[in-house]
């Protein structure tokens, strides 16, 4: 994962405002300042924007220049002692729990914010492995999981995305085994997602939400998926931002079960941040009304 938003944009700021609402809620619910893990880059705008709600931070940075900038900005803002700085590739760090210089992650976190170059399956399954590892290490602790994907980077295995969409189709159809009309509807909707001409943001909405739901439930978390936000980032890169609330289901003998079903996730509307405003996107994917 590479941080791409070196320079913040108005759209990004609007998305951050939306996240601030969720963070504030979490702060009020936990009645204490929160602990953050993220990739704030040199400008560390997230940390500065959430200062009122966030106490300790773990910042991961791979770019040495950004790293120096981050330290400089932290000092200028008097935050240098609140930041645990790890140096390297975040996926490696999430898998190993520490960077190459023995700086360690300090679990559990209240907010995790990953900024991804490319999609969930960019260049193989390492990213999925890293996220799974993170969720496992958060076991028993509720947290907000924020993740942004840069959709311009298309280097990912489309076939694996199609396979996941097939799986979703099969899973949803299995609920309505005797209703051919619903099965057809499911087939049509999922077929739309598989079309080449379908914008990547719609496919990602379903794919990412489904993946997080599956992984979260597998590791004892109920998940709430907020409507994802599409926006144009730095250099007009198409960005997709997801927010998940992860709630541990303690002492459950089986895997956790979220209130939102797969159908709810498919039917989520995508929002868009543009010109400092946030609104429900006009064009949405076909919904699954069952």
């Amino acid at each position: 994962m590479l941080p791409r938003n070196y320079t913040s944009t108005d759209n990004k700021e609007r998305v951050r405002e939306e996240d601030t609402i969720l963070i504030k809620k979490e702060f009020l619910r936990k009645k204490r300042k929160l602990i953050y893990l993220g990739m704030p880059s040199g400008e560390m705008r997230d940390i500065l924007a959430w200062q009122s709600y966030v106490d300790k931070c773990t910042a991961v940075e791979i770019d040495p220049h950004q790293r120096s900038e981050l330290v400089l900005n932290a000092i200028k803002n008097g935050l240098e002692n609140n930041i645990n700085l790890l140096f390297g590739d975040i996926e490696e760090i999430l898998i190993n729990g520490r960077d190459g210089f023995n700086n360690g992650l300090e679990f559990p976190y209240d907010i995790v914010f990953l900024d991804c170059f490319g999609t969930l399956v960019y260049k193989g399954l390492k990213r999925i492995k890293a996220i799974t590892s993170l969720i496992k290490k958060q076991k028993g602790n509720s947290f907000l999981f924020l993740i942004t994907f840069n959709l311009r980077e298309r280097r990912y295995s489309k076939s694996s995305a199609i396979r996941v969409l097939d799986k979703i189709q099969k899973e949803v159809s299995s609920f309505y085994i005797h209703d051919d009309s619903i099965k057809k509807r499911v087939h049509d909707v999922m077929g739309w997602y598989k079309l080449d001409k379908t914008n990547e943001m719609y496919r990602q909405k379903v794919f990412v939400s489904y993946f997080f739901k599956a992984i979260a439930e597998e590791h004892g978390f109920k998940i709430h998926v907020y409507p994802p936000i599409f926006y144009l980032g730095f250099n007009n890169s198409p960005m997709m931002h997801f927010s998940f609330k992860m709630i541990p289901e303690i002492d459950s003998p089986t895997k956790a079960i979220s209130e939102q079903t797969i159908i709810d996730l498919i039917n989520l509307n995508i929002k868009e941040a543009s010109k400092k405003k946030l609104f429900v996107k006009k064009e949405q994917a076909p919904s699954l009304i069952v």
Binding site: S68, L72, F101
Partner: protein, 516 residues
Amino acid sequence: MKGETYKKETTIKPKEEYAYGYIIKALAGGLYPNKFHVIREYVQNAFDAIISWKSTNKDKNVDIKIIIKKPSIFIFDNGIGMDRYTLNEYRKIGFSKKVIGESVGFRGIGKLAGISVAKKLIITTSPYGIDEKYTLVFDAEAMMEEIDELKKKRANISLNTLIEKHTSLTSSPEIKNEHYTMVELREIKPDSKTLFDKNKLIDYISKNAPVPFDPQFVYGNNIEDSIKKFVADYDRVNILVDGKKVYKQFTNNLKAPQHIPLYSKNKKNLLGFCWYCENNQKGQVDPIEIGGLIYRYKNFAIGDNYLTRKTIWNISSHLAFYFMGEVYIIDPNIVPTSQRDDFEQSAARDGFYRDAKVIANELNNIARDSSGIRRAEEYVKRGVETISIIKEDIKKREPSLKDLSVQKIATIVNVINNIENRKKNIPEVDKKTRLLANNVIKQAKKLLKEVKKVEKTEKEEFNIVKKLKLDKQAGQVYFTTIRTLKDFFINKPEELEKIIKALHKNLLEVFSKKMD
């Protein structure tokens, strides 16, 4: 070379290079045997920047922050900052506009100290009033690699080319009011990993940098006031290592501070200023590492506590550690070595070392006096204890008193002699101890009389041999029996007393019948 005539060389090439890349290698490897000296070099620069800022601005809220974020170490100051031209001077080795005696650093070499411990040296700075910050990157690793590669081929690269090739100076926007310099030692080399040890770094800074006295040190303010009176350019700065504020090390187990200003022979110029506190306890200051005197130049330590001991103590140098203190160098002609482990050899330095011997003499005298006082006090204390024990013995009237009386007499005589001999060492002001000493002597003399009297009575009481008119042989048998009993019941005097009394009673009965 005045007075000599030389033929002018005419063959010098106009652009010939006179310095080559290997100098960098020598600088990187040879100057800093102690890795922490590298940090000190940047703290010195930061301190100079802060002094400059304070001299021209009202905002005195300035400090130095050292931050360990592996694999880098950052040294930040919010001093005056540098413009692009001043920053560019970092590239010029041995170039410095700082004046000897005015600034802590002045050689223009220490600024590159970082290349000896890190793969890259990065300086980011912004001067007040300019909406830009500047970053200079010194790619030390690439430099070293190129030098090594060339060396294998017996080739050389000019210093200018090398520096131009492996350094870069860039600018980026910054808030106009910001003023700072941040040095990053990026990717600390494996042989310098000790720099990541926060506790060692704090220890080093507390001993060497111009940090304040600890607020817990009871004499801190008092000492600082006296330093300020004599050392015109005295200053100090808050230094935080990973958020922990560093202070000079101290112990409160000290006597009140004293000071010695050192003047030139004509008494016109102040050459140095020494403050010291004597250990309140016996012997050397504990812990010993904070004992002794430390030379300070612009409030930076020069050498360690052995340097003063070595340079100004001729005799009894161990007594230096009976004190804690500092010697501030004021004479501008005395210049520290680049390693800050001593001062450069010069007439001024040698003269200072000579004149500063008055410090050693004064401290030696104080230590000896204190030692005498302490010994006198100890004898008085011990005398009180001894007298009380003997009084108890007499009260019990142990049967062994006959033998012990001799010892007791000797002990009491010793108490009297020891206190009499050392009474003069107790200072007049210490009226309490003096009175106690006199009392102890008085009591001891009284007790002596008593013990002698007891001895006499008991001698008679126990002299049954005479009473029974025993012959020589019978007398020997009696004394052997008594001695054996005494040995046997050495720890049970009451039982011994009973047995001897019973023995005497029986003997008297037997012998009286016999005599009848």
